[in-house]
Amino acid sequence: MSRRLSLTQAFVFLLRRDLLLALRNRAEYAMPLLFFVLVITLFPLALGALPELLARIAPGIIWVAALLAAMLSLDSIFRSDFDDGSLEQILLSAHPVAVLVLAKVSAHWLVTGLPLLLVAPLLAEMLGMPAAAQPTLLLTILIGTPILSLIGAIGVALTVGLRKGGIILSLLVLPLYVPVLIFAASATENAAMGFEVSAQIYMLLAFLFLSISLSPWATAAALRMSVS
């Protein structure tokens, strides 16, 4: 009779531990959100506050900003665990590492991706996005940001052992974000014009399922590489 925790229990345990850590490091996790808002504020300042123009480019701006904010937050998935040796302990766990990785990525999404959902309506309003597009915007954020965390986790796992991982991380991750950007922005734009958006949403969902099933394995392999 094994006293080892079941896989689900281990998953939940690690998820809760990461959420607890995030709660104790609130300030650090607020930064990407702040950055998201800040980047969006820059666009009207650079392009002029023409309402038609802003409304037209709002989906694109919001999604580019979401990509950059996700990029900025990625490092926190594994950085502190790598520095203090907790990552070694996770890799030496009796549970499959890919599942533990998924727990960590889920926690990361809950504290960095989900908050974007809360501020996005506000920003959409400020940019004058048509009200009809806002539910679609939120839906794309809900489906799209977990993909960003999942793909980003591979990139961080590959670069967490490097002294100057930041620049190279963006080079690795941003090209892989292109499909999310295209489908999410195009869905929101179509919704603003009153068109059908289900095709894009299905593509995003397919992409989400693909990343959930593949990314944790790649991330686990990359972490093993990084600690050695």
């Binding site: 052992g161 690795l172 892989l176 499909p179 295209i182 489908f183 195009s186 992409f207 990359a222």
Partner: protein, 241 residues
């Protein structure tokens, strides 16, 4: 099976074989290149729509094919590295990256050179050019990551993972860019998409593709030999050379 694989992949063995092949490959490449260029630039008739400027496809299209082909080779090496930890695959993967990046760059440059007479501008956000640009970033990511990690065996594992992740993503990126393009520029015709191609153009095109293929193997062999010597500089077989 494994033993056979092992022998083929043994660095001294490969070093010798590659050295023997290089002169032959050089001649084959030169002949294919000359034949292809002659067929493409002199024999093939001018296009009835695009005049002489279409002739750049004899470089552009094979370069674009090679850029994808080499990435697939790298991903295959990545799988071999992860499963068998074969040293030669590591060397082939990382030696392929700059060659693939060069072909991608060549495809981009020739593509935009063609854009000038066709559209009056060097860059249009054409679906294939855009995909090609993103592919270039993927190549540069692999090269950058490999350079950033000091221990070369660790670096090889890192790029192996990255190449595999990339190869899963390339079709998705390609498809999404096509989608994006059709959405925003539905009216323009993709430029290299011709319904049919006359054999007088097809033959030089295939010759050029073959020439590029041989060039890849040639360049790969040379790079691999250098990389092998560097990595194995402390081993017995290198000292005996």
């Amino acid at each position: 099976m494994f033993l056979w694989f092992h022998k083929l992949g043994s660095p001294p063995h490969f070093y010798r074989i590659a050295g023997k092949w290089i002169p032959w490959l050089s001649w084959i490449f030169l002949m294919l290149l000359l034949a292809g260029l002659y067929g493409g630039l002199i024999e093939a008739p001018p296009d009835y729509q695009q005049g002489e400027s279409y002739r750049i496809i004899f470089v552009h299209v094979p370069a674009a094919w090679m850029s994808l082909f080499i990435y697939v080779v790298m991903a295959f090496c990545g799988a071999v590295i992860i499963v068998w930890r074969m040293k030669l695959a590591e060397v082939v993967l990382i030696s392929s990256a700059p060659i693939g990046a060069s072909f991608t760059f060549l495809a981009l440059v020739t593509g935009s050179l063609w854009g000038k007479p066709m559209w009056g501008t060097y860059w249009v956000w054409d679906a294939r050019l855009t995909s090609e640009l993103i592919l270039l970033f993927l190549y540069l990511g692999i090269i950058g990551l490999h350079n950033a990690i000091e221990d070369k065996r660790v670096a090889s594992r890192a790029v192996a993972i990255l190449a595999l992740v990339g190869v899963v993503n390339i079709p998705i990126i390609h498809y999404s860019v096509e989608w994006w393009h059709s959405l925003h520029q539905g009216a323009t015709v993709t430029k290299f998409d011709k319904p049919s191609i006359h054999w007088s153009m097809l033959i030089p095109l295939l010759l050029m593709a073959l020439a590029f293929q041989v060039y890849y193997v040639l360049a790969l062999f040379q790079k691999c030999r250098v990389e092998l010597l560097q990595r194995e500089r402390n081993s017995k077989w290198v000292e005996e050379l």
